[in-house]
């Protein structure tokens, strides 16, 4: 049985932080140069009391209302997040209730970052094509801003908060989910991490101590840390091969694919990756100028913003990569879907 992506929506929090604001707050940051490299002008940031589940709820409402979906028919809810409301229970349980989904609906969180949307499609395809679920609601939601130290330039300029909602079903409408390929290299786990706060390193007065690194970026062990050079090296080493192998399994080459939707890390990295794989610029849309890097939501947001340009029958390759290290690619055979 085919699994199809029937609809997508996304939601961004109202509050916006512009490069001008960051410049005023941090006179020592070269925001003009950072903007020219990252391609990011502003990012949306959740309010103090606003969590990932609040953002996911609004994205899901928009999708279910826009599709006029029968909520009683949703039999699986999965939420991809690394900033859950609680250690336990799983945030998806709260969302099942808040969204008015039936009590016979399965609900769980899965913890992935930039590869998360591809993971969600992979899982949803497996459940639907095995006949285990008929309508899967896949949510991605992240509020990395809550982990970020305001004086850590290396991550504050990049990440934005946001959420997406997608419906994957066994019905006839929407883009068919084709070949999926995932990969993992846990050796890179320290290079994008919030070191303290869970069981390995509980919060203490020591983990709250601020220190500046050699680039002048300030953080504590309870904050998000990213080694940009390591992440860049990882991406160059893994992603061209991932794209090649995912396509080769279905007898395709890069030239056979009409659209490439890459995780939107930053413009510099995405453009380098694209050029390295000799993918024409017009086939790989960038969508980060006014959202930043929203982690697991970048792929559905980019897909949503560009879907009207995709024609029926075209092939779309989704490619996610990052924290873990974790990566994945997924091929879609395009058919129009609901953009809510």
């Amino acid at each position: 049985m085919d699994a199809r992506l029937a609809g997508i929506s996304f939601h961004l929090p109202d509050r916006v932080v512009t490069n001008e604001q960051l410049q005023a707050e941090n006179p020592d940051w070269d925001m003009a140069r950072i903007e020219s490299k990252t391609g990011i002008k502003l990012r949306h940031i959740a309010a103090e009391q606003e969590t990932a589940s609040d953002l996911a709820f609004l994205a899901a409402q928009k999708l279910l209302d826009g599709m006029q979906a029968d909520r009683s028919g949703i039999d699986c809810l999965m939420l991809c997040t690394q900033s859950p409301d609680y250690f336990l229970p799983t945030t998806a349980c709260l969302l099942q209730d808040r969204l008015g989904l039936p009590t016979r609906c399965a609900a769980f969180d899965f913890n992935q970052g930039c590869s998360g949307y591809v993971y969600g499609l992979y899982l949803a395809k497996a459940l639907v094509s095995a006949g285990m679920a008929a309508n899967v609601l896949l949510l991605t939601a992240e509020t990395y801003s809550k982990f970020i130290h305001p004086r850590d330039r290396s991550v504050r300029v990049l990440f934005g908060d946001g959420a997406s909602a997608s419906l994957i079903h066994a019905g006839s409408g929407g883009a068919r989910i084709g070949n999926c390929r995932l990969g993992t290299d846990g050796k890179g786990f320290r290079n994008l991490i919030v070191p303290a706060g869970a069981a390995r390193l509980p919060c203490t007065s020591e983990t709250k101590r601020e220190s500046a690194d050699e680039n002048g970026c300030v953080r504590t062990e309870e904050n998000l840390y990213m080694d940009g050079q390591e992440l860049f090296a990882f991406t160059l080493a893994r992603i061209p091969a991932l794209v090649r192998d995912t396509l080769a399994e279905t007898g395709l080459t890069i030239d056979d694919v009409d659209w490439f939707v890459f995780h939107q890390a930053n413009a510099f990295m995405n453009e380098h990756l694209r050029a390295r794989m000799r993918i024409p610029k017009e086939k790989a849309p960038l969508c980060m100028q006014e959202v930043g890097n929203t982690v697991s939501s970048t792929i559905p947001i980019t897909l949503h913003r560009n879907a009207s340009r995709v024609s029926p029958g075209q092939k779309v390759l989704l490619v996610g990569f990052g924290v873990g290290y974790s990566w994945g690619a997924c091929l879609l055979d395009w058919n129009p879907l609901v953009l809510a």
Binding site: K37, D227, G228, Q229, F232, A233, L236, F268, H272, R276
Partner: protein
């Protein structure tokens, strides 16, 4: 690609005059040589020489000569002097 061209590539990445860079130049003498500049070097040597530098290798470099050595160790077409 020879050493001179490699130095020109580094100068292009760091956005400084190539004449200002020599093999013995210390990276820390150039305020322009930021972490972003390093990413540009990584991307240019990948694009033009198919050489992937690791973050660990980069951290071990204090002079231009050190980076030349790192690149040369990975590509046969860069003669050492």
């Amino acid at each position: 690609m020879n050493e001179k061209q490699l130095i020109e590539l580094f100068a292009e990445a760091v956005e400084i005059e190539p004449a200002l860079l020599a093999l013995e130049s210390k990276i820390s003498d150039f305020p322009e040589w930021t972490s972003l500049a390093w990413l540009t070097i990584m991307s240019l040597v990948d694009e033009r020489l198919n050489v992937q530098l690791t973050a660990k290798e980069i951290r071990g470099c204090t002079t231009v000569q050190d980076i030349v050595n790192c690149v040369a160790a990975k590509v046969a077409s860069v003669p050492l002097s």
